[in-house]
């Protein structure tokens, strides 16, 4: 039996993990629902975000502080995401086999990004600083401040994204184009621009996630592979009925991972997660919160 303090530590770690996965899955789902393709370079975007953040923030590099690193990773990955879309996805847009073509091009893009990181920053692992230090005493238990900051930043980011999608003109247009491309064209929407924007936003959010992952673990060029796999589990587990459904699934996966690491052991955790995913797919193929209609 675990003590209450341990329980709180494991749970808050799970919530923090879940928050990162939510960020990743939201970005992955944004591209999947609008463009109908799976972006295998999403993990490499996380790595790029972490390295760009490190370049700006770390004392060994530009030394401008972590806040500047967060902004830099977000903006930098937004631009990279749009360029990536123009070069590796747009040329295949009208092809009937776009899904297969983009499996190959986005995998190639991931390899290019990882090699570029190796060339620019070298293979030796780095680490980003924590968002905040210390613990906050809540009377009954204590929580690391960095977890709280992480959860707050992710909450604010996803809240802003939700507001953007439902309340702004461009956001509504993005939701519309994700539901029916032809209807969007019929209604006069600039579909290529909206696709590029969706890709850019998705990459920018991945960049932000990269900063957090880089604060939790050591940074390597392939650091995005594991979070990508978790985000994939999240998206399949949660379904993509609406923008919020991967978020619940992400928190669930974060908790399960955190408790499974403690009880079952680190090496068995992926098996536990995949088993959970397979059971859900058996019982409800569209995902826990899913729907057959794909939409943002």
């Amino acid at each position: 039996m675990m003590s209450f303090d341990t329980f709180v530590a494991v749970a808050s770690g799970g919530l923090a993990l879940g928050a990162i996965y939510a960020l990743m899955a939201a970005g992955l789902a944004a591209v999947w629902t609008t463009l109908g393709i799976f972006n295998f370079a999403h993990g490499a975007f996380i790595a790029l975000g972490a390295y760009i953040g490190w370049q700006i923030a770390d004392a060994e590099a530009a030394g401008l502080g972590l806040a500047a690193g967060v902004v830099g990773a977000f903006v930098g990955l937004f631009v990279i995401g749009i360029l990536f879309h123009l070069a590796l996805v747009r040329p295949f847009e009208r092809r009937p086999d776009i899904v297969t073509a983009c499996v190959i091009t986005t995998l190639a893009g991931a390899a290019i990004c990882e090699s570029a990181i190796n060339l620019i920053w070298g293979p030796r692992s780095k680490q980003l600083g924590q968002l905040a230090r210390g613990e906050v005493d809540l009377g009954v238990f204590r929580l690391p401040v960095s977890d709280l900051v992480l959860i707050a930043v992710v909450g604010a980011t996803l809240g802003t994204l939700g507001w953007f999608l439902s309340r702004t003109r461009t956001g509504r247009a993005m939701r519309a184009v994700s539901q029916n491309r032809e209807a969007a064209e019929l209604m006069g929407l600039d579909v290529p621009r909206l696709y590029a924007l969706a890709f850019g936003l998705s990459a920018a959010i991945a960049g932000l996630a990269g900063i957090f992952v880089g604060g939790l673990r050591f940074m390597t060029p392939t650091m995005g592979t594991d979070p990508l796999m978790k985000a994939l589990i999240v998206v399949i587990l949660g379904g993509i009925a609406r923008f919020t459904s991967p978020i619940y699934a992400a928190i669930l996966v974060g908790f399960v991972e955190s408790f499974s690491n403690y009880y079952v052991g680190l090496y068995w955790t992926p098996a536990v997660l995949f088993a959970m995913m397979i059971v859900v797919l058996f019982l409800k193929p569209s995902g826990l919160f899913g729907h057959h209609q794909r939409t943002l």
Binding site: A176, E182, A183, A184, E185, L186, M187, L189
Partner: protein, 251 residues
């Protein structure tokens, strides 16, 4: 009286030499025609004669033409992207009710209005959307229903309202009567006439010949991608070539 089959002077839409192939199949083969402002030009033809492909090629949704020129209001537009065409005033609908399923009827139309110069504050856009829905005769009590929950006819009306909300000068309607009941087809006929009264030129693909000949000023018949007849509806339907294309035998 000038012959009706000649292209009208001061055409709002003139299409010339449009060709589109899929592999070895010439789906649309060197099609040319012109429309006067406010005219209804009907397009008939057997299945697979290239009617929808012609629409797709003109509007570039979802593909481009191989060759041809499209002049809209005196300006070549065949190289403009689809959304620019829509913004200029060349709108289309699809044979299937193409709407945003999880958005409400009024939100569907608002998305279209937000793309136009007429769009403004949300309140103004809601008003304009409600106007467009009123024009097509969409019931006011269902404005906030999700499009997915509406019957086929009402989804078609939402789609047409979305196209009208773009304030087009030319509207391309692709088989609007397909899968409708006779009563609904009557309402559609009235709507098409009403749109013409509002000054729209309409290019109308239709299989329901009686609807097509009833509203069209001129009728064009396609067969195997080529124009085989163009003229006054009553004459065109008696044309031996047209009869043969439809029935497969010479009279």
């Amino acid at each position: 009286m000038p012959p009706i089959s000649s292209p009208p002077l001061g055409a709002i839409l003139a299409v010339s030499g449009v060709t589109k192939s899929f592999g070895a199949l010439r789906a649309v083969d060197n099609v040319s025609f012109a429309m006067a402002p406010g005219e209804i030009l009907g397009i008939a033809g057997p299945n697979g004669s290239g009617k929808s492909t012609l629409f797709n090629a003109i509007t570039r949704i979802p593909f481009d033409m191989d060759a041809g020129i499209v002049v809209f209001e005196g300006r070549q537009v065949q190289n403009l992207p689809a959304h620019r065409l829509a913004a200029l005033g060349l709108a289309r609908t699809f044979q299937r009710e193409t709407v945003f399923p999880s958005l409400s009827a009024v939100d569907n139309v608002i998305v279209a209005i937000e793309q136009t110069k007429r769009g403004g504050s949300l309140r103004r856009n809601v008003l304009l959307a409600e106007q467009a829905l009123d024009i097509v005769g969409f019931p006011a009590t269902l404005h906030n229903w999700r499009a997915a929950a509406l019957p086929v006819f009402l989804r078609k009306l939402v789609m047409i309202a979305g196209a009208i909300a773009l304030d087009p000068k030319v509207l391309l309607l692709d088989e609007p009567a397909s899968s409708l009941t006779p009563d609904e087809i009557d309402r559609l006929r009235a709507l098409i006439r009403q749109l013409r009264e509002m000054g729209l030129a309409i290019l109308l693909i239709e299989h329901v010949l009686e609807l097509l000949t009833g509203v069209s000023d001129r009728l064009m018949v396609l067969d195997q991608g080529r124009v085989i007849a163009l003229g006054e509806p009553a004459q065109v339907v008696r044309d031996p070539q047209v009869v043969e294309a439809y029935l497969g035998v010479a009279p």
